[in-house]
Structures are given as C-alpha cells and as structure tokens.
Amino acid sequence: MFACIYIPDFPVEAIVRAEPLLREHAVAVIEGKPPLTRVVALNEKARLLGMETGMTKLQAAVFAETPASDLANSDVPQRRTISSPRLALLRQRSREQEQAAHAALLDVAHSFTPRVEDAAADTLLLDLAGMERLYGTPAKMGTELQSRAAAVGIEGNVALAANPDAAMHAARGFDGITVLPAGSEIQRLGVLPVEVLLDGFEISSQTASFRESTGREREKFREQMLDTLERWGVRDFRTLALLPEHALASRLGQPGAQLRRLARGESTRTLNLCEPAQQFQEAMELESPVENIESLSFVLNRLLEQLCARLEARALAAQQLWLRLQLDRRVADEQTTTVQELNGLSLESHSVIPKPEVERVLRLPLAMRDGKVFLKLLQLDLAAHPPGAPVIKLWISAQPAPPRTAQRGLFLPLSPEPEKLELTLARINAIVGERRAGIARLLDSHRRNSFNVERFMTAVGDISTTSSLTMSEDVGSRLAMRLIRPAYQLTVHLCEGRPADLNVDNGKTEGRNLQGIVLWSSGPWRSSGDWWAENANSGPSGAWDREEWDIAVAVARDGSNSANIGAEAEQNVALYRIYRDIGTGEWFADASYD
C-alpha cells in the first residue's frame, strides 16, 4: 500500500500556512519583476472570482482590494487589512515560506513512516507496507495523515493505492481522502483528465532521459502530447487506457506506452527514498516593516507554533534557537550614517556599514518544545538587545535534540520546572542585567574575590535523596565575610605603624559604618600574585601585592558612626578587612566579617 500527499496550489498554501486568516479569502500569488509580474498560483476562491494563472498584475488588481495605482509602486510596502472575503488578496511569492512548508510536509511524512519519496515540492509518496497494525485500515491511515498535515498548518489531498503512481494521480485528481482498492484503479481513475496524467509524468517517468531534460523540454513534451491526444479525442484516463498498447507505442514511442500503463493504474516502481532533514527553519517576509516588539511577537508566535508542531511531529525538542532578523535597509543606513556623522567620520566609510541583519542565539540548558516559553524568552532577549531598526524579514531555526525522558521520583524534594526556571532566569536577567544571576564558580587562584558567574541550570535527578541525615546534622556556623564591591578607598592614619583612624574618601559608605577610631587591629599579612603574568600591570586582573589588616571599629547601635558616639551610647563592634596596595600606597576596605 502506498500513499500520496498532494498540496494543491502549493505557493498559496505556503502563504496561508503563515497567515491562517487568509484561508477564508481569495488569494493570488504573484511573482516576477515589474512589468512582468504575473499570477503564478491562486486558490479556489480566487478562481471563482474569475482570476486565472498567468494574469498580469494589473489584470489581477481588478479583483484585488488594493487599487492598481498603489500596486504599481511595489517598492513601498502596503499595509493591508483583510476586510471583505469577496475581494482577492495579492501576495508576493515567498520561496522561504514554500521551503518551510515543504520541510513541514516532509516532517509529517517521516513521522508516519521512514520510507518517503520527496517527489515534488507539493507531492510526497509514502510506502505504508506493514503500517496497518499501527494505524488500522487505509481509510484511517488517510485520515491520520491529513490530520497530521493540518497540525502543521497544511491542508491537502491524501490518496492511498496499491502503487505509488495511482496514489499520486488520485491525490492530484480527487479532493480530500481517496482510497483505491487494489484492482479498481482503472475504474476510479478513469474519469480524471489526461492533464493530471501529464502533470505527474515527470515524477512517474522511469526514463533517465526525461528526468534529465530541462523544464522547457518537459513543457514542450507536455504540450505536444496534449495536442496529439486532443486530436485523437483522448481526454481522460479511461479512453487512454483502452487504446492498444502496441499501436500507441508505435505512434508515441516509449512514453506513450508508459502513459497507458499509468492510466490503467498498473505501473510499478520502487520509491526513491529520502533522509529526514535535521534542519528546522521557518521564515516569514513581512508586508510592512515592524517597528515594535509587541507587533513582532505575533509573527514570532506564529513561526514558533509552526516550528514546535514540526518538532512534535518528529518527536524532537529544541536545544538551541536562532533568530535572524533582516532590518529595513533605509532606516538602518540612516542610523548608521547619523552615528558616523556624530563620531566625525567621513561618509566615504560606507563600506564598513554592517549588514542590516541581526542574529540572536538562544541556548537552552535543556531540550524544550514549548512555543510559549520560546516566545517569552525571545521577547525578553529582544527587549535586552533591540535590533535598532524596523524588521522586514525574519527566520527562526532550531537545533533538534531528543526530548527529556527523565521521570522524577514521588518522594524527591521539589525543584523548579526547567521551562519555568529558564523563563524566570531570563526575566531576572532583564531586571538585573546580563551575567548577574547564576552559579558562582570559584577559580583556582589565591586572588581575593576570584570567581565566575555561570549559567544556572538544574540537572534532572540531581537532587539527592539522603537529605534527612544532613538535616539533622549540626552544620555549625562559621564566621563569614561580606565583600564590598567595589572596595572603598580609605584615608588611614597610622599609629606606631598600625591603623589608628580611618575615613572613607568620598564619604559614601552605603549603609556600612566604616569610619572612626580603630579599636583593635591585627596584621599585616602580605599577599601577592600574578606578577609573573604577561599582562601583569593591566587592569584588575593583573598582578596584586598588598598588605592586609583586620580591624575593629565601633558603631552606635542606632547606626551612627563612632565620631558621634558618646560615653553613654550603646555600641557595637564591626570587624572589617582593609588592605594597603603596596604599589600605590593607597588603602582600601574590601570586606567585613559577619
């Protein structure tokens, strides 16, 4: 048993897939440079209005909402509203959307069976041998295939037959789901016009010479064959199937005999199988530039839904997402020029203008497949890194990965859900800034305050179950340090070589009482390092050489500094670590004991 999925008016369907509201309207797809812009595809509603393939743009504009005078100026993007379903909508052909729709169709087919032939952009052939146990009767398989295609936003015809060519002709000739029982092909296919046979002959032909011929040669062959059959009075499959084989072969050659076999539904061949693609990409070209993130979110949402539906069809998830935005060149150039003028650069440096494209990468700690989470993450990322100019085209790609298959135990402690945690981290990063929320990882260095902040992630099943023992243990309390970032610069008065009195230079202690008389001091301790490095004197990561002291200063319990403390006032003692930079001789306070 073989099945065929055929998408009529594929260019229209690819556009409707991105804009589902168009499904209720007459849509015509135009292509070509003015003035040779012509209609290349249209849906059934557009045909009912009287539109035809091959119409010029001006002819099509009669049926369209937008006046022809506006359409003539194709450089200016038009903002259109879908108001009346009785008027046709004209859309530019989008190769990216067609590729995405075709890839989605392939994903659907590969989710059904691994034996798939990528016959054409709008036609897929599937070998369903042995699938009855999984999906049931052929009618059920047809329904399942159609519903899976609808899940990725594509509506088409499905036909099942004993051989692939009969299935293909049935899918191209009959709407909806068609099941041809073995032996009944000639009766069921007999009513189809011979145009269906010749349209699919490129796929069905077994001869290498025909497959290698150019498109113009195929079109010529099709016209010649149609003329001949028309002169003979052959207009449908049944008439062609009744012609004697030898007589037909002597007049039309090998293709004639093959056409007769196809018309009788007796052709047999093996499928040219294709591998499932590992690239998941969706694209959309916008009618008018989008200037704000709220409007862009609707487009992103649609693309992400399609992407997630494709991933779901293949039982995969996304480990990484790429968002590529093509910006409006005019606005981007204007902004670049303005920046250059402000910086005093000459206008001749146009060659260094960056390409008006922005790419953002979303690395996920775990494989996910939730479109809403992806949308929110992208929104937050775009809010933190705005593209800087209106967007006219966008692509979203996903790196597929196997979905998480871990099962949590019933008695394990709760931990944040990975999707929710990722979203929370993105929101927190939007509030506190990049790389300010995560895991602190200590570096192998004696330098104070040496650590990296890394991305926070929870491995599933990482939580230990032996918590009860740990809970009952007395961990004990250790004297901890609170760091002062950045360190306060101090003015320190020495007495017998020891700190006796200190003051913060700029007077801003931000809630810390760090001034006055030093009650006790302990030190000094010398520490140095990284003097052997090449960039020893460059910046905070360079060499250090310092003399550390631990000191105690008195503060009043109401928080005032020790300078105002009287003899009767209640006091606290605060312990700080201060140090003197040996190189510069300056004093700093970088930590307190608490």
Binding site: E291, I293, L382, A383, P386, P387, G388, L414, S415, P416, E417, K420, L421, L423, T424, I428, A430, I431, V432, G433, R436, A437, G438, I439, A440, R441, L442, N449, D462, S464, S467, M471, D474, V475, G476, S477, R478, A480, M481, R482, R485, R498, P499, E510, N513, L519, W520, S521, S522, D550, A554, G559, I565, A567, Q571, N572, A574, L575, Y593, D594
Partner: protein
Amino acid sequence: MSSVAVSPAVHNIFRKDSACDLRARIESSLGQQLSSTLLLRERTAPLTAPFGIAALDALTGGLPRGALTEIAGPASSGRTGVMLAALAGATHQQICALVDASDSFDPASAAAAGIDLERLLWVRCSAGATSQARRNAAQSGFSKAGLPRNAGFAFGGVLEQVLKVTDLLLQAGGFGMVVLDLGDIPVESARRVPLTSWFRFRRAVEPTPTVLLLIEQEPCAKTCASLVLRMQAEAVCASDSSRDASTPACRIESVNIPQVPKTSVVSHADLLRGLCLRAEVVRSWSQRKPPQSAGARVELRAAL
C-alpha cells in the same frame, strides 16, 4: 414564643464532661449541618528547616517553611554566618536562591561554610542595571512597556530589583529557600519597602514548602514575619599588646571608646574567634507572646 427542638443526640452530648469530647461529638453530629467556617480547627505547626546551628535550632525550632523569617542585626553580628549555615543545609536537599541587594556575597566563605554552590542561584542586584535596561528600551523604541519607576529614595533602584526578583522566584516555585540579603541596605531605606510587598511575599510562599529568609539590620516586615530573630555581637575579645601567645584572650562585656584611647593589638585568630553572638527571638509563630529574654549564645568559628 417559639420552641427549639433538641435532638436526643445533642442531649447525650451534654452528659459528657470533657470539653474536647464535647466539641468532637458536636462536630461529628452536626458537622453536616454547619458551615465549615464555623468549625474550629487545630493550628497545625508548620514544617521547619534547620538553621544548621544547634543553639538556634533549640531556641526557635528551626526555620518555618511556607513563611517569612527575619534575621536582623547590625554589622558583624553574625547574620551572614547564620544565613550561610542555613543555606548549607538547604542546598544539600534543594535548589536555593540568594537575592543579594548589595552584591556582598562571598563565594569563598559560602564554599567554606559547606554551601553547594551548584545549587545556589545567586542574583546580584545593582543600582546601574535598571537604568541600563531602561536606556536600552528607550534607545530601540522596541519596547514601549518600560520598567516602572523606582521608589524615588536612596537604594530605591536596588530595592525595586530585589522585590521584582523575589516576586519572580516565588512565582516560579520549586526553591527550597529564598534569601533576601538586605544586610547592607540602610534601615531608613529598608523600612520604606511597602508592607504590601511583604504581605504579598508571605501569601505567595504560604502554600509552598519554601523558606523565605530576610537578612537586614532592623526588622521591617512587621507582622508578615512568622519568626523574627535579632542578632547581636555580645562581646569581643581584646588583649594588651604585651600579651604573650599563651595567655588566653580576655573577654569584655561592653565597648567604650573613650576608655580605649589607643589602638590595642590582638592576634588575628583572637580577633575573629572572640566574636560571641547572642540571638534573641522577637516574634515566633509557635509562641503567642515570645519571652523577650529568650536568647542563645552562638559561637562562631574562625575558619577563613
């Protein structure tokens, strides 16, 4: 006059002497006819997480889960040590989060205290981040929904971040302990945090097993806190400069600056090891009237 008919079951109930039995029998007999709001309920003790310090666990019974706990105290009163001890125990079981208002967390101290840093989400708030985010949004014209204005007082930007981040963490759920470190935020600024924020946090954390811990200089969450602990440095050791190494450090009970005219010299270990702390329960979920004198002495070990 109207007469009230009393069922035989109720007559039987009044024969019993015990009030508890009486109540139980009334509820069992008339439970179907009474609204659930009229029935008395036993106050169930919440689950607790250990402080990791035996003295504090004995004093308070532990950190209540699903509640807000405040640990208040001035600088060098041991708040951070207690916080790290609690986090050390919590990170061995669950994921925890630390919202650091003044970016003062020391990962080296945390690792020495036994905290599993892999399970601690550290959020470093800073005053500059909010303004940078606003600047980005304004430059792009891409985000019309900008961040709300800060509270308009000192540290308002940082506190705004702290409150927002805490809201997000509590809404996300799944954290065993969420710590808000306002230890270096001035009391005047911390007190200007609206009480509604603490109330919202308490309501958010109530149905969860999360411990919400607030480190600060003075208690500011008022009645929203289920447990308020005040830390105080009780004594600091000091010694003469002429003291030799074998002489034990002497403890002084109070500090009076005019009586210490010149700088005293102590050894490093004595200076740190001699810090004795006192913890006092100001409010507790388990005690309606907490005794003001209830306290515990906490010894901190110098292990830096």
